[in-house]
């Protein structure tokens, strides 16, 4: 990021060695300052894996995670800086390479960055601060206890003098890293909990931020790959003669995933690919279509499945319930469609490999390159670049492996670009799913039993991703039984922002609303009662209800609906106001209360809550990937539309004050928006939405 040279990439490893040697072994981990002004006076000295302090007083923070828009660079910097007591204006950030010092699995999935770094980064900041204080105490010949760190300086409180971090850097870097430095009490935080501007904004308003797709190397060729449109199809024959005639095309190379066309620019590579003639053997998935998949889901859920949760006795309770309610819900496959299409730059040499990638999984990226090249992990370097969105797609390393394959075969640096069509038609999708519910009410109309059979393609081991959000509901219902049918039609599926909650929270929160209606209960009242023993959710519910004005008189045709979720360690309650206007669903306003524990950067929390709502609303109102004879029908944004600025509701975010350890935030608000809107539309129209995307004809 900031300090990487593009083009004539300086090999950091050899550079480190040289500078260390030149400086008599004193300088470890020298980094180039932002503008690449390279001079001895701006040497940055390593205090630990996360903090380097420059002799020019600039502090470089190493962000071992990755930035896909979720604000990690800023929030992780805040954790380090809180204890380091550095000047926020003197911070530089950098993405380091893959290193065990940064944990066994570097990457950004499951909204876990803050949660996993909450302690460790504050400790790293505190340890570095202590080293600086120690260095100052030694210089002054005073006891450590009279020294205190403040705003990039160490103050001698006895003599009332101060010295800058920059001038202490060299001495500090020679001190041992202290273990077990005490951390601040939360009441003493001066950075954590304060709305803080993003560190990456300036580079993102003038075109200078480097995304993976922007990396350029000398002698690099541009590649695209032709892949089987049918999942699992294999190449049976290739005629590349026309492609080779396209101006700019350099070579055509078969690779494991298809046929790579290399050219001296992206456009020629795309044109070359268009001119290929390839015979494919489609394989068994060619008989699969959306219709057949849902037919299988429907049939399977008529039978009992594998039990994912059992509390009480669902069958007996259903048989004895005063009133029984049944409903079937369904959602389609979804693409991630990050704005930056997938891409990767790779340079494979006989004894080394470098990869430049916008990736959510640096460790996985390196493992993929190691697998393909047969090199030792130490010989493979992964350069983390800004991601133009990830949403789970960039947790997979398939596109990185492809670039490594192409560079390995071509013997030159290669930038592989996926077109938008590649991105949409060769995704690892949010799985389609169908849930068959049966619930019973007691004689007073309160829920007694909740059962569901979910048919979905599981991934990531076990049934968790298929049933989370339906099986782990927080509601105190005496009998709960959730069963799962694993159905794998051969369509690739994987993590999509909020994973199983993205569909199951829609199912569960909508069906709960059905129970409220069937029992003659107010949806808020019902949730209050069932959450009596979940104080954090209850508090978020009350906050949202108060701010949204639950029960107030609404404009004609408007309705309010609730969507609640507790995923990634956070509790989120949304109340949407929606109507049908001129043949279109209109979401006017969303009030979201979130208890995410200690909010490290409240401004970032607000951004992410809005972001998750837009993402979920795109899916609820528009999203759907159609499978036809084993391939995906939708290819670009005219067929897979997403929310636009004129459809953006007014969103209000209310953060529940908390000193609990932080929860995740990047995926907190995506699950709840679809049911909040569907429930609001029920309140407005009396029509129940049981299938996404919401179709206005279902509301007539």
């Amino acid at each position: 990021m900031t300090s990487q040279l593009k083009g004539g990439q300086l090999n950091r490893r050899s550079f480190l060695r040289t500078t260390a040697a030149a400086a008599g072994g004193l300088i470890v981990g020298f980094q180039l300052p932002e503008t690449s002004r390279l001079s001895a006076e701006t040497a940055a000295l390593k205090l630990n894996a996360f903090v380097h302090v420059g002799t020019d007083d600039l502090v470089t923070l190493f962000i071992h995670k990755a930035e896909m828009g979720q604000g990690t660079v800023t929030s992780l910097s805040m954790l380090l800086a809180e204890e380091l007591e550095c000047d926020w204006k003197k911070i530089r950030t950098e993405f380091p390479g893959v290193d065990r010092e940064y944990g066994p699995n570097q990457g950004v999935v499951g909204s876990a960055s803050i949660r996993s770094s909450w302690e460790s980064l504050r400790r790293a900041g505190a340890a570095a601060r202590e080293m600086l204080i120690q260095a100052a105490a030694q210089r002054w010949g005073v006891d450590r206890s009279v020294c205190r760190a403040e705003n990039n300086t160490v103050v001698n409180t006895a003599a009332n003098t101060r010295v800058s971090y920059g001038s202490l850097a060299e001495a500090a870097s020679k001190l041992p890293v202290p273990a077990n430095v005490a951390l601040k009490d939360s009441k003493d935080f001066h950075l954590i909990g304060k709305p803080t501007k993003r560190l990456d904004t300036p580079a993102k308003v003038n075109g200078s931020a480097t995304f993976g797709i922007d990396v350029r190397l000398p002698g690099m060729l541009y590649a695209v790959i032709a892949r089987s449109s049918v999942f699992g199809g294999k190449m049976a024959g290739l005629d590349a003669s026309k492609a080779r005639l396209i101006p700019g095309v350099k070579s055509v190379i078969p690779v494991p995933s298809g046929v790579a066309v290399l050219a001296d620019n992206t456009w020629s590579a795309i044109e070359g690919r268009r001119a290929l003639s390839i015979m494919w053997n489609d394989g068994p998935v060619a008989s699969v279509s959306t219709r057949s998949i849902f037919q299988t889901f429907t049939e399977r859920t008529e039978q009992p499945g594998a039990v994912a949760r059992k509390t009480g006795d669902g069958d007996a309770a259903l048989a004895g319930a005063a009133k029984k309610i049944e409903a079937v819900y369904a959602v389609p496959y979804l693409a991630h469609a990050p704005m930056e299409p997938l891409n990767c730059v790779a340079h494979v040499r006989p004894d080394s490999c470098e990869v430049w990638a916008s990736t959510q999984g640096q460790t996985a990226a390196r493992a993929e390159a190691v697998r393909i090249t047969g090199l030792k992990p130490e010989a493979v370097q992964v350069h983390t670049e800004y991601m133009g969105g990830g949403f789970g797609r960039r947790a997979r390393a398939d596109y990185i492996g492809e670039a490594v394959e192409v560079s390995k075969a071509a013997g030159v640096p290669v930038k592989l670009t996926w077109t938008r069509e590649d991105d949409m038609q060769q995704d690892w999708y949010r799985p389609a799913s169908l849930a068959r519910f049966a619930a019973g009410l007691d004689a007073d109309g309160w829920p007694l039993v909740w059962t569901a059979r979910v048919a979905c393609t599981p991934f990531g081991g076990g049934s968790r991703t298929a049933v989370e959000g339906v099986a782990d509901i927080a509601y105190a219902i005496p009998h709960i039984q959730v069963e799962h049918h694993a159905v794998d039609p051969g369509i690739p599926v994987s993590y999509w922002r909020s994973v199983g909650y993205s569909q199951n929270t829609f199912f569960a929160e909508s069906f709960l609303d059905e129970l409220a209606a069937a029992g003659g209960k107010d949806p808020l009242e019902l949730r209050r009662r069932l959450l009596a023993n979940s104080p954090r959710l209850l508090a978020a519910l009350e906050l949202a209800a108060g701010k949204a004005g639950w029960g107030r008189k609404l404009p004609p045709g408007h309705g309010l609906g609730i969507g609640l979720s507790n995923n990634i360690g956070s509790n989120t309650v949304q109340i949407a106001e929606a109507s049908v206007e001129r043949g279109k669903v209109r979401v006017h306003r969303v009030v979201c209360a979130v208890d995410c524990g200690q909010a490290v950067n409240p401004a970032g929390v607000e951004q992410q809550i809005k972001s998750g709502i837009v993402f979920g609303l795109s899916a609820a109102l528009k999203g759907g990937i159609t499978i036809l004879q084993g391939h995906v029908v939708e290819g670009n944004f005219h067929q897979y539309d997403v929310l636009r600025i004129d459809e953006m509701p007014a969103v209000e975010v209310h953060i529940v004050p908390s000193q609990n350890p932080p929860g995740g935030i990047g995926e907190a608000s995506t699950p709840g928006i679809a049911p909040a809107v569907a429930n609001a539309l029920f309140a407005a129209t009396g029509k129940r939405i049981r299938r996404l995307p919401i179709r206005v004809q279902d509301l007539a």
């Binding site: 990456d200 308003v205 003038n206 075109g207 200078s208 972001s611 837009v614 944004f637 005219h638 600025i645």
Partner: protein
Amino acid sequence: MPAVRFTLNGKPQTVDVVPNMPLLWVLRDTLGLTGTKFGCGMALCGACTVHVNGQPMRSCATPISSIAGKTVTTIEGLSPDSTNPVQLAWIEHDVPQCGYCQSGQIMTAVALLAKTSRPTDADIDEALRNNICRCGTYDEIRRAIVRAAEIQRAQGGAK
């Protein structure tokens, strides 16, 4: 292949590429100006928006041959120091998340403010509705445009 001459960010530029190559790829691959982004390649998302003779254009759907003799401005040429009112307002409102769509959003907003010094919500909807942001920065974009208009009026920059 006849060379194409045009003005790019205030300087004369000549490129010698196939005539139907979209301006987007000329900028990004041939000239190394990577601030203009590829999002869809079909004039559907707005990520590749640049100004051609002051008008917002989708560079992914603009063959290089069609811009001979014209003036092209990209995000890199908007201001030397990020002081265009739209950039200032974008920083003030911390608009970008991933940032990938933002070059296109900013170029579109600048073009809007060149026409309209006091854009209404409807003007903003109309001008920006074909610029997709998957991170959902729409709220901040709207506020920042209103703010940019204020800055621009204070500078006496537009009608």
